[in-house]
Amino acid sequence: MSSIPLSVYLVLALILFCIGLFGALTKRNAVIVLISIELMLNAVNINLVAFAKYGAKPGLTGQIFSLFTITVAAAEAAVGLAILMALYRNRKTVNVDEMDIMKR
């Protein structure tokens, strides 16, 4: 059980980020889109924490940074869901494809 190299974390984060990005861009269900965004932000957290531990200058900064990211992600999710709820009340759908009244 030797220590895991930094690159593994980075690759993990990158994969997570890409999955999130893919999901956010392609999924139709608005909730899943929001979840995908959270996934992307969590990839950021993995990066930050990994860098904080194994990066150029190991220290606490990265972890603190990630705390802020977590908070912001939570706030963003809260706002996103609240808006989605308002939308659902009027539109009765969470399908992103159907959000097109301004295109018509």
Binding site: A30, I37, V44, G55, A56, F65, F68, G80, I83, N90
Partner: protein
């Protein structure tokens, strides 16, 4: 850090922020405890008063030499002062617009609108005056989150819901992208302080990670372009602009954008100014062609798509996309005139765009439609409004004797002032401007050449009229005497402190 440090710190340098924060809190409390049925409009006056207070504090700071709190987490330097001036001015004018905006059935949420606007402004101000990635990010998100909610303010209107949701999603994605990039910047240097990052990137050891560095640069840049609505992240702008209440649209297109430019300038110039690129040249020089492509694409996309728009808010959305492209040009070329020209253009943009939105608000309220045809015959209905709108549009189109032209001239100087000059970019800029004539002058055509169904004179609202008049006067004044603004800039803002870390004072 004990109580002594606390009291010894010069909290006064944050006075404008405190004023805004205090006003926002007071407003939220007042709004909570006011009876449901009571009109929220007095809160608007209070909000304006708060901004005025912040403005006064900011003005008092002009003589103040640069200072910082928490190791540059909060900086009072010329750059921040210059940008905060625009931010405060813009938000103040927008508050007046909001005061006269009719929300119909959503009137009860007006109180929230006022203090959300202030928190958004607070975020923007922090973006302008932070020298640390964490606080930059917090400011960015404070601005974004407040804007999301404001965009969805008219919560019974489907348009507004959709606008807000699209804004949240695209905003969330771009935040994540920005953060991902920032996490690499942090990882490569181990610092979050922009100055420390800049210093760390000067180190040759960074060369072994140069590809990662370039990757970080691009991904962060891509994420941050969202705020200024430039390509490739401009797609949200039309829908959000269209769906949001008009003052919010104005806020997004002016204040939010200004803050976006502030953060872009601050972040990239400080972090990457001395970063090495791949093999040899400095990074900022190497990426110029790519940034130029982005700026060009933004101008082209904004201007060309705007041609097809019939909805006035959508049209202005694309127009502001194009404007963002223009303002990106100095950043691409990074010439010695970067700061003053960008600042001047943003100032000009503030007046012309807010003025235009004031007129749009007046006209759409009177005609009940967002279609361009709502402007038909405006000259007959309200000649002065038509004249003012003409001034704003001429300024946006960059016709001389308006502030927009002086700004654009500065941008040109940036593009062509470097060696070698960015002739292609300048060409695209010019071509874009000419294309923009089509849709800008179409509005003028509607106002002057057509006659609308409605012939009655428009009932003016005092606040809107004030904003319109002020913006028109400023647009013309800074068009004829751009020297005054530049002189003011050079006198008050000695940007030498931009690149220096500041001690705690």
């Amino acid at each position: 850090m004990d109580l002594h440090t606390l009291t010894s710190m010069n909290w006064g340098i944050m006075a404008p922020e405190f004023a805004i924060l205090g006003t926002a809190i007071i407003l939220s409390l007042l709004d909570l405890f006011m009876p449901r049925t009571q009109s929220r409009r007095p809160l608007g006056i209070l909000a304006i008063a708060g901004i005025a207070a912040a403005f006064i504090f900011l003005y008092l700071q002009f003589g103040h030499e640069g200072a910082s709190l928490f190791h540059d987490m909060y900086r009072l330097d010329s750059f921040s002062k210059a940008f905060k001036l625009i931010l405060l001015l813009g938000t103040g004018l927008i508050l007046i617009l909001a005061y006269d905006y009719r929300m119909n059935e959503e009137e009860e949420y007006r109180g929230e609108f006022y203090y959300l606007l202030l928190t958004a402004l607070l975020g923007a101000m922090f973006m302008a005056s932070s020298g640390d990635m964490i606080t930059l990010f917090i400011g960015l998100e404070l601005l974004s989150l407040s804007s999301y909610v404001m965009a969805g303010m008219r919560k019974r209107k489907l348009e507004s819901n959709e606008a807000a949701f699209k804004y949240v999603v695209t905003g969330g994605i771009s935040t994540a992208i920005t953060m991902f990039g920032m996490s690499y910047v942090f990882g490569l240097t181990g610092e979050t302080n922009l100055y420390a990052v800049g210093a760390a990137l000067r180190d040759t050891s960074i060369l072994q990670n140069q590809f990662l560095l370039v990757f970080a640069f691009f991904i962060t840049f891509a994420g941050l372009t969202f705020k200024i609505a430039s390509a490739p992240f401009h797609m949200w702008a039309p829908d959000v602009y269209q769906g949001s209440p008009l003052p919010v649209t104005a806020f997004l297109s002016v204040v939010s954008k200004t803050a976006g430019f502030a953060i872009i300038l601050r972040f990239f110039l400080l972090c990457f100014s001395s970063a090495p690129g791949i093999k040899g040249d400095p990074l900022l020089l190497q990426v110029q062609p790519y940034l130029a492509v982005l700026a060009g694409a933004t101008m082209i996309a904004g201007n060309v798509i705007a041609l097809r728009q019939r909805n006035i808010k959508r049209l202005f959305a694309y127009s502001s996309v194009a404007q963002a492209g223009y303002i990106l040009v100095p950043f691409v070329s990074v010439s010695a005139l970067l700061f003053e020209t960008t600042w001047f253009y943003l100032l000009a943009y503030l007046f012309m765009n807010i003025g235009a939105f004031a007129v749009i608000q007046e006209v759409t309220a009177a005609s009940g439609t967002n279609d361009i045809s709502g402007f038909a015959g405006l000259y007959k209905r309200s000649p002065w409004l038509a004249v003012a709108m003409t001034i704003f549009i001429l300024s946006l189109a960059g016709i001389p004797a308006t502030a927009g032209f002086a700004g654009k001239f500065g941008i040109f100087m940036n593009a062509l002032g470097t060696n070698p000059g960015h002739y292609i970019l300048a060409g695209i800029l010019m071509a874009g401007t000419v294309v923009s004539y089509f849709y800008y002058f179409n509005i003028i055509g509607q106002m002057f050449f057509r006659s609308g169904q409605e012939e009655r004179a428009i009932q003016h609202k005092k606040g809107l009229l004030f904003v319109t008049a002020l913006c028109a006067a400023a647009t013309v004044f800074f068009g004829i005497f751009p020297g005054t603004a530049l002189h003011f800039f050079y006198n008050e803002f000695h940007l030498t402190d931009f690149f220096q870390t500041l001690g705690q004072k």
